[in-house]
């Protein structure tokens, strides 16, 4: 499935939620079910600093595709991070860099990606794209 198709799949999932609490409960559950990151990977150079919640990102290349592993100390942030990993992980660097990521806005989570200092998600998206570029350049 390409990035746009995964985004559409997520938008459809979120369309089912009529209440804000169902939507947030889903994100919280996504955060809880995201495989915990290897503690050894949570080094300072993989830390994306937000003002409040912290996000760690580890990227690697597998058979030409970029694979992302991520974690956060805040569960809602981790849930949104899980969505970003689901959308972007396993694609080529070019696909990742070119992805407009419209789903965040469409599922009503734009506030979590606004460039405020509340969390590290904006920097997270930027870092995912930078990592993808760096890995493909190295290859």
């Amino acid at each position: 499935m390409d990035i746009a198709a995964i985004e559409n799949e997520i938008i459809e999932e979120f369309d089912m939620f009529e209440q804000w609490d169902d939507k947030y409960q889903y994100i919280i559950d996504l955060g809880k079910s995201l495989a915990p990151m290897n503690e050894g990977w949570k080094s300072d150079e993989r830390l994306i600093k937000g003002c409040q919640s912290r996000v760690w990102l580890f990227s690697e290349l597998q058979e030409g595709n970029v694979i992302f592993h991520a974690d956060s100390d805040a569960i809602i942030t981790k849930g949104v991070v899980a969505l970003l990993v689901r959308v972007l992980s396993g694609h080529t660097a070019k696909e990742i860099v070119d992805a407009p990521l419209t789903f965040i806005d469409k599922i009503g989570l734009k506030q979590h990606l606004s460039p405020t200092r509340a969390n590290g998600l904006v920097s997270m998206v930027k870092q995912m794209k930078l990592d993808a570029l760096a890995l493909s350049a190295k290859n």
Binding site: Y24, Q25, C51, Q52
Partner: protein, 414 residues
């Protein structure tokens, strides 16, 4: 006026609420509960109207024009200075400098006064509960001068150990800077006693009053502090206006921090002569409407009565603390018996950001994070807290709504 005697007989909180237009806002489909007053307060119509009225009726540049509007604007600006003087109990309006806020006031003291007095090896003393704004300007100056920034530690309850305070005063201490009320812990420091102890060691004192002025009477003569700062926006006035009070003896020692128009007697290319008093530190066209609106805001809280506001907020503090104690695994950060209406807490290992996000979905505005007091968070070994801070318009009903929203958030997150 005998400030201590004043107490409003009937505290009509519903009437006060109706004077703040923003309190009727609906957020995420629900009635707003605003518990982030420590960050900034909402503005009553009187204050908002005073800004509109200034621009609609007598907008002009001040201290320059002979025309009517300029004279009216100048008189209103200087009248606001007198209101601040009266509110703080300063001996002269020339001890009251308009700044952009507490942060600029701290920087002003650092650059206009301390810079010429601080030498390599000297010390500046602060406490472990300071806001970054009352750390960084001193830290930067200390680094520049090769001086040492020393810190009085904070106890487990979030207080300064008064009995050991004098151990931190040395002949090299050039200034003691501390907060009157902690923005994170709510602790009300025994400012008068701390100042008197510092003065006994011949150490001048700067007090950060940003969290005190909105919640209690502050009398700078009674405190006998050398400097006192606060921000307008935390006391129901607009952003971008604040105050530095400096005792006459100190203000005469200060040199202008920024140069420019409005602060000179004569300018020649060889030498400029500055005017005397507070205006010397207000180069350029100031925030005229902000100063006027600050005067209106101080009139407003004075009319309600600072003692009445303090009593009301204390009641909210006690009620909310009692309610919160029922939450499993809650940990209060700041448990001093002397607190303003501020409650900082964490629950279990739930991240404050998560709680704040779910509370916001339910139209409850609280602060989450480190509250610009990172060293204090490190002291308590936590990433941040959820902070509830009350204003004169908050109610017990709002605390009940907050509790219900918090319980829901905890259920979702655990």
């Amino acid at each position: 006026m005998n400030k201590e005697a004043e107490l409003t007989l009937h505290y009509d909180v519903e009437k006060f609420r109706s004077q703040f237009p923003v309190l009727s806002r609906v957020v995420n489909g629900k009635q707003l509960v605003y518990f982030d007053n420590g960050a900034t307060t909402q503005k009553p119509s009187l204050v908002i109207d005073s800004i509109v009225n200034y621009y609609s009726s007598y907008n002009a540049n001040i201290h320059r024009g002979v025309h009517t509007l300029s004279q009216e604007a100048s008189a209103a600006y200087e009248n606001a200075r007198k209101k601040v003087q009266n509110h703080l109990g300063a001996t002269s309006d020339q001890e009251v400098i308009f700044t952009r806020g507490t942060t600029e006031s701290v920087n002003l003291v650092a650059h206009s006064w301390l810079r010429d007095r601080l030498n390599a090896g000297d010390e500046v003393l602060i406490t472990g509960m300071e806001h970054h704004s009352n750390i960084l300007p001193w830290q930067v100056l200390c680094e520049e001068k090769g001086a040492v920034l020393r810190v009085v530690p904070v106890t487990d309850s979030g207080e300064i150990e008064f009995s050991s305070l004098s151990e931190y005063f040395t002949p090299k201490t050039k200034l003691f800077a501390f907060t009157h009320v902690s923005n994170t812990l709510g602790t009300i420091n025994p400012a008068k006693e701390m100042i008197s102890l510092a003065h006994a060691h011949n150490i001048p004192v700067f007090v950060d009053g940003a969290q005190a002025v909105p919640h209690m009477w502050v009398d700078v003569q009674d405190l006998d502090c050398d400097f006192y700062a606060f921000s307008g926006h935390k006391v129901y006035a607009p952003t971008g206006i604040g105050i530095l009070y400096a005792k006459s003896a100190r203000i005469n020692e200060m040199i202008p921090y920024q140069s420019g128009g409005g602060i000179i007697k004569t300018v020649k290319f060889e030498k400029t002569e500055y005017i005397d008093g507070a205006l010397k530190f207000e180069a350029g066209t100031p925030n005229i409407e902000g100063a006027i609106a600050l005067g209106v805001a101080l009139d407003y809280v004075s009319a309600i009565g600072m003692k009445s506001i303090a009593a009301h907020e204390h009641e909210l503090l006690i009620y909310a603390t009692e309610q919160l104690k029922k939450i499993n695994d809650i940990r209060f950060i700041g448990t001093s018996p002397h607190k303003a209406g501020v409650i900082s807490f964490i629950v279990g290992n739930i991240h404050p950001f998560d709680l704040g996000t779910i509370l916001d979905q339910q139209a409850i505005a609280v602060r989450t994070g480190h509250h610009c007091t990172q060293p204090l968070m490190q002291r308590f070994g936590i990433p941040g807290t959820v902070r509830v801070s009350f204003g004169l318009y908050n109610t017990k009903l709002e605390i009940d709504l907050f509790m219900r929203a918090l319980e829901k958030a905890l259920k979702m997150l655990s």
